[in-house]
Structure formats: structure tokens, C-alpha cells
Point group: C2
Chain length 274, copies 2
DNA sequence: TCGGTTATTCTCATCTTGAGTTGATCTCAA
DNA sequence: TTGAGATCAACTCAAGATGAGAATAACCGA
């Protein structure tokens, strides 16, 4: 068995001789599925591509991961960093994402006509914010209702949909939506879509919008308050009732739970199980 | 607005001028967390590295994703294909993985001393199989009980652990274990660890081994049979009772459910919620 | 044959859920 | 000013799911 010193020497020798250029070129990008709830609709941040490939089409914000270049002009960055950077650059605004998680990686050959590209997709949740396109320098960035994109089963866009997404971004978006819908069930991430303080009804609207179905208001209320750590009372209430009447609602903050126990299950999922 | 024909021409021009070598080199690898249940222990397939870096250390099976090389000697392969190929190559055996899913991507700068490497990790479940190391050509491959690796909180290996894993593979493994434990709750994937036909007790042993806690046999039995599509009776029973007595057990196949409704929740998780 | 082990089924108290109702509070428009 | 309609919050009640324990029967090895 080698001693540690000998092992270290071999490793150093090896690295000195190592030539990264010997491998065929593969590029790594990050793409971000940034979701928000606006006007009682689930919306995704899209940018219109200025350059080929797919110039003129809508795409998820994203771009190449920066890595150490020969002249040292660019330095390595972590994948999540790159996701935040691209989101900030392309959205124009510093998006206050209340949540960012890795969604998955997409590397099917031919998904990018330029070369072999592996894309690491991220999923971000943001509370409603001012329209980002105003003042955006680079490409046109806009919140688009996901319902308008005609997403079908496996992320295929239905024929006749006006906004065709570039690359395999329709598929990535579909996966992101699936993940988001599932995560609302067993995590308190719905709170990432609202600004604090918020009411139980605002939270319910997030669920109804993301899931696309009405929930029983009374049961939802009971559930949210009974799950430990989901929300935390501020002791305050709204200053006025709702726009269509009703009493003032109590205000809450996010709680400290990272998982909902028991979970808040989506109604009518039993059929989709097979 | 451009016509489609004009758009296509621009795209073609662009691609003709595109030089992939202009970008700094990034490599993409796949690594596989392959799990099985053997001898009432959760085990992971590890290979001992023959080459630097980390020569002599244990690592997850994996390697570089093949992509189109200049001389056409290698062609593109999809990421999941690459995972299966590496698993087969490094394990020596054609591993009958009953399940393979993407776990996540790891790209922190410096995680590979050679160059910037993004690793796409996969998670595989396999039923108990003959030891793979026998007959393996390449490196030494072996099923190792995960408990022997001394994994701590964030995938840190506790000091004193004899088998130190290469790269950030301890972290990847820890993430894989978390995912596996969670997936047993709401999917029928426990059945991927057993060979058909199987008994309810064999299935319970999978849960107990992966979760590391005893389950109430009666309640587990009721639950498994009551969740629609989890298992399907073969009508047969084992030919003899268990090695330590007991009646013959009924035999089952995997059902057609992809999700368990309601889920089979892990006991005593309420505290880990914060 | 007997003691110990295991598979399967029951019981029962407790918890959770779905659906509906009630009462109080508030906005808007007549 | 007032009444209709909407909303918040709490409550009821039946049905379903869960956790703990026990009962029964089949089977092993000694």
C-alpha cells in the first residue's frame, strides 16, 4: 500500500501532464424556470432570443456557465451562482427569488444545434413583482402565463400555439411545473409566491393557481393553521376587507417548517396514479 | 418580422461560423448511486479507482459522457445511456437495475482537480444480485454497506472511516440516500429492490433496511394491500415457511401504480421537519 | 411433540379529511 | 342608509387512515 506522500506525488505528476483539450468539446449551460403568480395566473419568465439559434423565439433565461478561461478573464462559478447571475442579467431586475432549487439536467444529443450542450435547469419561485421588461437592457424579458403556451403531455406544445419555445425548453418548463405542483403538497414553498405578511386566502390563491383547481376555503384554512411551522401569526390584520367585501383577514409570516407534516394533498389525484 | 425562410437562412449561416473550441473546456461526467439490499443491509456499488486522481480510493461508478469527437470515433449518447453504460462497464455485470432516475448535477469549481467537471448523478435501484467484483475486468467493483461509510450530516464522512470516497462522492451518495428514503414513501419503488414474485415481508424488509427502523408488521401488511396498484397477487404462496418458522407467505408482483395514494409515511419524521 | 417464529387478520382509539353550515364583518350599489 | 353579496374564521359530522396491540393459524427446528 502506498504512503500518503507517495500518493500525493503521483497525483501531482498526473495533474501536471493532464490536458483538458484532449476531450471533445461539451458546453454546459444553466436555464431557469422562474415562476410567479400574477393576476390569478401562473406565469413564467421568458426572454426573446436576439441571436441564433432560435433567434426571435421565446426561451427560458439562461446561458453558458462561466469557467476558468486560459487568460483568466473569467473565473469558475458554481451552478446555482450561474443560475442567479443569468436570471438577474436577463430579467434586468434583481429578481427577489424566495426559492431556487435544481430541477434537473438535459443533455440529449442534438438539443442544441451548435454543439453538444448539457443544460442544468433550475426552478425558482418569486413573489409578484413589477414587470421586468421595462428597463431591461438585453433581450426582451416578460412574464408569460403558462396556460398560454399550450403545454401538452410531455412538454410538447400543441399546434397553433403562438409562442413556440426554443430548444427543449417546453419540456424543461413542463418538468418544472410538475415539480412545482408536487412541491406545494409537502413543502411550505407556496409562501415563496407571496410577500410577507400574507393572508391565508392569498396563500390559498397560490395553491389554486398553481394546481388549477378550487380548494375548500374552510378546510384549507384549518389545514394551514394546524400544520406546525407552516405559517406564523403576526397578530395583525389587513387594514380593510377584501375588494368585494368580507371582514379583515389576519396576517401571517412564513413559519420555520421545511416540510409539511402531514402534507397538503392535491384533491382528485387518485386517477393519475397509474 | 422575418419570414421563416429568412430565419432559417440566418440560422444556417450562424451555425456554419460557430466554433465550439472558442469556449473554455468543461467536461461532463455521469456518476451512478446504485443501491441494493443485501444481507439486511443497504449497500451501494463502489469501484476502487485505478488511476489518478484519487487512485486507490473508492468512488461511485461513472465516467465521462461520450460526445461526438472530431474523428467521429465516438458518437453522442444521452445522459441516461451513459449512466447505464458506465454501470455495466464498471460493475462487470449487466446490472438488472429495476429503476434509474436522475439525481442531480454537481459542478462546484474544484470538485475535480483536473479541470472544471460537471457531474450528472443518477440513482439506480437493483434487486439483490451475485457479487459483481468476480469477473470484473476493469477496476475492483464491490457492494459496500452504506452504514460502513460513516456518512454524516451533509455527506461528510466521519473521521476514522476507513473507506474515504473520492471527489464529492460522499455528498452525492448522501443525496442519493435521502432521495431513496423519500421515494419509498410515495412511490412503489421499494419493489425495485426485490425479485418477483415477492412476499409482503420481503417488501417490509426493504423498507426497514432503507429507512433503518422497524415497522409494525400488521399495519404494514394492511397498508400495502390497501393501496391500489402497489402490489398484485399471484395467487401462489412460497413453497415453505420462513427459515425460522411461520406459515407460507402469499406471493405478489409489482402493481401498475406509479404513485402511492395515500403514501406510506415514515414514522417519527415530525421532528426533522424544521 | 413443543416452543418459538412468522403471516395474516382484527379491534379500537385517535387523527385526518371532505363537505357543509354558521355567524360576524366588510364592500358596494341601490 | 340600508340590504345584498362576499369573505373570514370557526364549527359539526361522517368517512377514511393510522398506530398499537392482540388473536389465530401455519410452519420450523430441536
Amino acid at each position: 500500500m502506498m504512503t500518503d506522500a507517495a500518493w500525493g506525488q503521483d497525483e501531482a505528476d498526473f495533474l501536471a501532464r493532464y490536458d483538458p483539450r484532449a476531450y471533445p468539446p461539451v458546453a454546459v449551460t444553466v436555464d431557469v424556470v422562474a415562476l410567479t403568480v400574477r393576476d390569478a395566473e401562473l406565469q413564467v419568465l421568458l426572454v426573446r432570443r436576439a441571436e441564433p439559434p432560435f433567434a426571435g423565439r421565446w426561451a427560458l433565461p439562461g446561458g453558458f456557465v462561466r469557467s476558468q478561461s486560459a487568460d483568466g478573464a473569467e473565473s469558475d462559478e458554481d451552478l446555482a451562482e450561474a443560475a442567479i447571475r443569468e436570471l438577474t442579467e436577463e430579467a434586468g431586475t434583481r429578481l427577489r427569488t424566495a426559492h431556487l432549487e435544481q430541477l434537473g439536467s438535459y443533455g440529449t444529443p442534438g438539443r442544441d444545434p451548435r454543439m453538444r450542450v448539457i443544460s442544468v435547469a433550475y426552478l425558482a419561485f418569486a413573489p409578484e413583482m413589477p414587470e421586468p421588461s421595462a428597463g431591461s437592457d438585453a433581450a426582451e424579458a416578460q412574464w408569460i402565463p403558462v396556460a398560454s403556451l399550450g403545454l401538452g403531455e410531455r412538454g410538447q406544445q400543441r399546434p397553433g400555439t403562438s409562442r413556440k419555445l426554443a430548444f427543449d425548453h417546453a419540456r424543461i418548463l413542463a418538468d418544472g411545473l410538475d415539480r412545482a405542483r408536487a412541491k406545494l403538497e409537502y413543502t411550505p414553498l407556496a409562501t415563496a409566491f407571496v410577500t410577507e405578511p400574507f393572508t391565508v386566502s392569498e396563500l390559498r390563491e397560490v395553491y389554486e393557481t398553481v394546481w388549477g383547481e378550487k380548494l375548500h376555503a374552510g378546510n384549507f384554512h384549518r389545514k394551514v393553521l394546524s400544520v406546525p411551522g407552516f405559517v406564523e401569526s403576526t397578530g395583525e390584520t389587513t387594514q380593510a376587507g377584501g375588494p368585494r367585501g368580507g371582514p379583515r383577514a389576519r396576517l401571517y409570516r412564513r413559519g420555520d417548517a421545511r416540510l409539511l407534516h402531514p402534507a397538503l394533498l392535491r384533491p382528485g389525484q387518485e386517477e393519475e396514479v397509474r
